[in-house]
Symmetry: none
Amino acid sequence: MVRRQARGRQRIGEILDAASALFAEAGYDRTSTNAIAARAGMSPGSLYQYFPNKQAIADALSERLLAELREAHAASFDDTAVAGLPLPDLVSRVVDPLVFFHVTHPGAKVLIGEKGQSLHTGVTDRVGSLLRARSPELPDDDVRRTSTVAVQIVAALMGSIVAAPEPERAALVQELKRALTGYLATPADR
Amino acid sequence: MVRRQARGRQRIGEILDAASALFAEAGYDRTSTNAIAARAGMSPGSLYQYFPNKQAIADALSERLLAELREAHAASFDDTAVAGLPLPDLVSRVVDPLVFFHVTHPGAKVLIGEKGQSLHTGVTDRVGSLLRARSPELPDDDVRRTSTVAVQIVAALMGSIVAAPEPERAALVQELKRALTGYLATPADR
Amino acid sequence: MVRRQARGRQRIGEILDAASALFAEAGYDRTSTNAIAARAGMSPGSLYQYFPNKQAIADALSERLLAELREAHAASFDDTAVAGLPLPDLVSRVVDPLVFFHVTHPGAKVLIGEKGQSLHTGVTDRVGSLLRARSPELPDDDVRRTSTVAVQIVAALMGSIVAAPEPERAALVQELKRALTGYLATPADR
Amino acid sequence: MVRRQARGRQRIGEILDAASALFAEAGYDRTSTNAIAARAGMSPGSLYQYFPNKQAIADALSERLLAELREAHAASFDDTAVAGLPLPDLVSRVVDPLVFFHVTHPGAKVLIGEKGQSLHTGVTDRVGSLLRARSPELPDDDVRRTSTVAVQIVAALMGSIVAAPEPERAALVQELKRALTGYLATPADR
DNA sequence: CATGAATGAGGCTTCATTCAT
DNA sequence: CATGAATGAAGCCTCATTCAT
């Protein structure tokens, strides 16, 4: 029965892989559940053994992406050591795995940035806690707003970055870092 | 026959108004052409007299939005006088009408930011020419890249700005300006 | 434009005819909307131009059947002259057109008898008003109960009657009349 | 292997219990075999070990209901002593256990009354033999017809009876008895 | 040129049934 | 015999587009 569960997990993974690829290619609305099932090598009925409806697939995909993202970031630095880093270094430590992640998971760019989808929320929270660690005196509202803006900037540029061929990609990543650094270094008021 | 053309232009305008409203409410995919026709007070058949298919409506809407946007910006400053402005002032002169425009035309936020749609391209070109005016010595590639990034930042935040209720909206606009100022003020290299 | 409406009414009629036949053959659940459309000589999409969903077709069919039934009964006697009739005659005047009606509209037997469907309610109300006319002193609850029971008896036997070939059919109609006469002639209490 | 068979019988019973409950809740068509299996605490595959298809479950359930019904009736009186009873007493002796049975087995009301399902046939035969015992001189056709009609009347009203809350239920049972007594007491001809 | 009925492919989802384990 | 994942046809309904009037 442990085999059963392992098999189930694998099939869920296949579904999410297929959905990720198709969402990346055509977006959520234009991706049919039958197409996801076909790409995952199963029948439509099987897909519905694992997910109750199309939205649930997107949700689960968001969850998985978020988890993988957390893992990737955890490998890049630990939150406690963050307060002392110079801003450009911090930005690089955050952005680089993020870019790698998105290049590796092109499906992410469709889900991230859509409010209410858990990935977006999760990433924003994570960035918020980083900001909080660096600026403990900042009001909660400002932390939330700044992290939201930062995440949206990243999300906005990520599409171009992922789509760009390699020489240009690096340049765009530079630009993203410049934008974030410039944004976060600029005093909030005035 | 001049009357004919005037009538046609008006009907096209009605279609675009309807499409704009519906795209804003539900997005492109979830807006049906029949709904657009109904909102525009005409039959589906009539709609197809003016547009060959759904995408053409979105394209025409993008064109019209771009034209209106140009007009709005032209009223805010003239390109030739831009070189001397301090950066924060320039940003405000660009961003404020843009925000006003998007608040007034909520449909724009669905179309802007989608690559290949003419609005996006047009706005990027326009920003590029502003950059060029301020930094004549910058390589073409850098101008293009910087303007693309700037436009994407604006597009990314515009959604939240339009959606936010007024006290928060102003705060988000501040953040957008901070982001742009910070980005453009930060030296490209290093 | 009057032609348009006439055409629409006709197509609605065709849909109801088709639904009636199929409901009679297989019942509501086993009748597909695509089958109704096909039998009505139109595409599934056209059907949905006239009805928002499957249940609405059944409802409209019930309404139409009820109206036709009212007409048939109105031709058989007028309510005001009913009080003086001997019970067997009254029963015949009610039952005969009903039987003719059901033989002519086999779809009716699926809809009648299902509580909450308007035909059933309508017929019960009508029978109730007949009872009320004959026995003005009867409590409301008894009128309702008696008419409900009478209608259910008719509905229950109608299936066999419609299904039976002619010599047997007449015999069953006799039985139905006997049942109703016996029921209504028997004093309620004791 | 006796254990085997005992186990099998028990599982069949569980399936029929589950089916009975679900048929009562939603009807035959709207009850899925998977739901039956789940309610019976087994897998779909196991269910199909005992029944070749969905209809066979309904058939077996009808058989079982009929057997239980026979048992209930046998406890209420014996056929040989029936000839001498006054009609109202006979009706009560038949109807009361029937009502109790249906209240106890709500699933029965979906199956009874559907021609060709064995429960209906069985009940009709039983009533026929009662009639035959009381009126030995009656032609076979009349016996069959009368018992069919009587059973259909019972079946028709049973739905309302089972569905009604208690004060109303008793009243409806009274009505049912009145209907049967009236029907059977009324001379067949003229 | 307007109309709106008509089309039919296709989307999401369910479910009776089978089969590998 | 049990399990439950797998199947795939089919059901209800939508919608971009066309065409007769």
